[in-house]
């Protein structure tokens, strides 16, 4: 925005000054003067028009930092690591999640207060906002970019909106097999205008097919396990994994063969060790896929689990500094970065994937909540809530290269997410 207004002023003032100085010299011939003024005004108007039209820029290096306590997002660019604008009035962002439009221009922010806000990154303004429920947790955008679905806690279920107008397209309650409403978690997009999500209270997985938005078709998988608390879809759109809080293990659905049903993997992965109290729910959408392995947080243990994606069996465990919250692979899969639950949340650890060893322990600030890699992974942005800053690291040297002020920052989301299934 600053850049825009500066160029507008500089561009507009020169032709106007020229017209004002030149006109009196032509005072004897009124027709010529009129012509001159007309042409001068025309030139000035053209110059103004050119100057007023926004300076063109792409959106591929844009991102958003959530300032959760203030209901605000900061729009940033990751080429020079600078702040472009701030957008307020997004409501309660206690647990803010967002998705990108397929043109990478807009973000759809899901607020805890049920607000769905569409933010225009180029103008730094709110392009639309609806308060669609009492309490929501997250959402997803369809493969074709036409629909955005919000997962709700109160009342449970999902609501689906048109991404252009934010008009309500479908309202799908989550009444489980036992007849009770359920909180919805772990929503993600699937190929073909479908959304998949889990029913927390009921232990079910549902797929909503909105090929015809007026008649959503539901596929339900019941009895998948107790208290699924979050889930993810792998980047190829094939596997849906729901972490279970009420029991050991993970519910796995092969979306290429949904008729085979949900199966359980990693049963008893906490066996033999007394699990610790879990002070923060791990976030599964950060689960890292590196090589042919999936790296994920062990619940209630100071460990990261490595799971073979072919057999879905545990391949290794890596000891880390605390209970992992986000376990995220650098886009090339060579490194995995981990942050932790309170009280170990001032630490970030870097694991070398081939050797499965922690190669660096970093202290970027107090209360590290989230990490986001730049699209090709040369840098990672880390939010330090209680230090009121976002810290940027070079992922090769593991040195800090930039720092941005932010008020109680939580999530960081770059626009490259627009083109990834499940994000």
């Amino acid at each position: 925005m600053i850049r825009l207004s500066l160029s507008r002023r500089a561009g507009a003032s020169a032709p106007l000054a020229f017209a004002a100085q030149a006109a009196p010299a032509l005072g004897r011939n009124s027709k010529r003067m009129k012509d001159f003024i007309r042409s001068s005004v025309f030139t000035a108007a053209l110059a103004l028009l050119a100057a007023c039209s926004p300076q063109l820029r792409g959106t591929g290096d844009l991102g958003v930092i959530v300032e959760r306590a203030d209901g605000r997002v900061t729009v940033v660019e990751s080429t020079g690591s600078t702040i472009l604008s701030t957008v307020s009035g997004l409501g309660d962002l206690s647990h803010a999640a967002l998705v990108y439009s397929r043109d990478e221009r807009y973000v759809f922010v899901f607020g805890r207060d049920g607000g769905l806000t569409k933010v225009d990154l180029l103008t730094g303004t709110i392009a639309g906002r609806v308060v669609q429920s009492g309490n929501s947790i997250g959402g997803a955008i369809s493969q074709d970019g036409s629909l955005v679905a919000v997962a709700n806690y109160t009342p449970g279920g999902i609501k689906v909106f048109d991404t252009a107008s934010l008009a309500l397209v479908a309202d799908i309650p989550a009444i489980a097999a036992d007849g009770k409403p359920s909180k919805v978690i772990g929503i993600a997009d699937l190929p073909g205008r479908k959304f998949i999500y889990s029913l927390y209270d009921a232990g079910e997985i549902w797929i909503a097919d909105l090929a015809d938005p007026a008649k959503p078709a539901l596929t339900k998988f019941t009895g998948i396990g107790r208290l699924p608390y979050d889930a993810l879809v792998t980047g190829d759109g094939r596997w849906y994994l729901a972490g279970l809080f009420g029991e050991d293990g993970i519910a796995l659905l092969d979306l290429w063969n949904p008729d085979q049903g949900v199966r359980r993997i990693l049963d008893h992965y906490g066996k033999g060790t007394e699990p610790l109290p879990v002070f923060k729910m791990p976030h599964l959408r950060g689960w890292a896929a590196a090589d042919n392995e999936i790296w994920l947080p062990a619940i209630g243990h100071h460990q990261v689990l490595v799971v073979d994606k072919t057999s879905w069996k545990e391949a290794a465990r890596v000891d880390v500094a605390g209970q992992p919250v986000f376990v995220m692979a650098r886009p090339d899969g060579r490194q995995v970065w981990v942050n932790f639950a309170v009280p170990d949340y001032d630490v970030v650890q870097v694991i070398d994937v081939p050797s499965r060893k922690v190669v660096k322990t970093l202290y970027p600030g107090k209360a590290i909540l989230h990490m986001e890699f730049t699209p090709r992974g040369e840098r990672v942005w880390i939010s330090a809530r209680d230090s009121d800053k976002v810290v940027v690291y070079d992922t090769e040297t593991l040195e800090q290269v930039a720092e941005l002020p932010a008020v109680k920052p939580s999530g960081i989301f770059f626009s490259a997410r627009a083109h990834k299934t499940g994000l």
Partner: protein, 104 residues
Amino acid sequence: MRLGMTLVLIGLGLCASAAAEPSAGRRDQLRDMVAQDCGSCHGMTRKGGLGSPLLPEDLSRLSAEGVVETILEGRPGTPMPPWKSMLSRDDATWIAAYLMGETE
């Protein structure tokens, strides 16, 4: 005699329940913890999330002791963890009063 005994018992009871209030600095930390760490599940405005709402009207049906026990020991079978490794009983007693709207 019985009256005297009762008074003594009441006195003892008061002593036992009168927790030492955390210092001003600690209270700041606890307010922050309620907003941020409890807020992760219960919402920063305490209207609930994956965890239940924690507004005074939601907690009014519970006893202060019950709230303190839940904070310290957690709720088995739910994601509510025991916080006793990070909070003393005095901390938890103050948080319970804070949540129930009895102190600021």
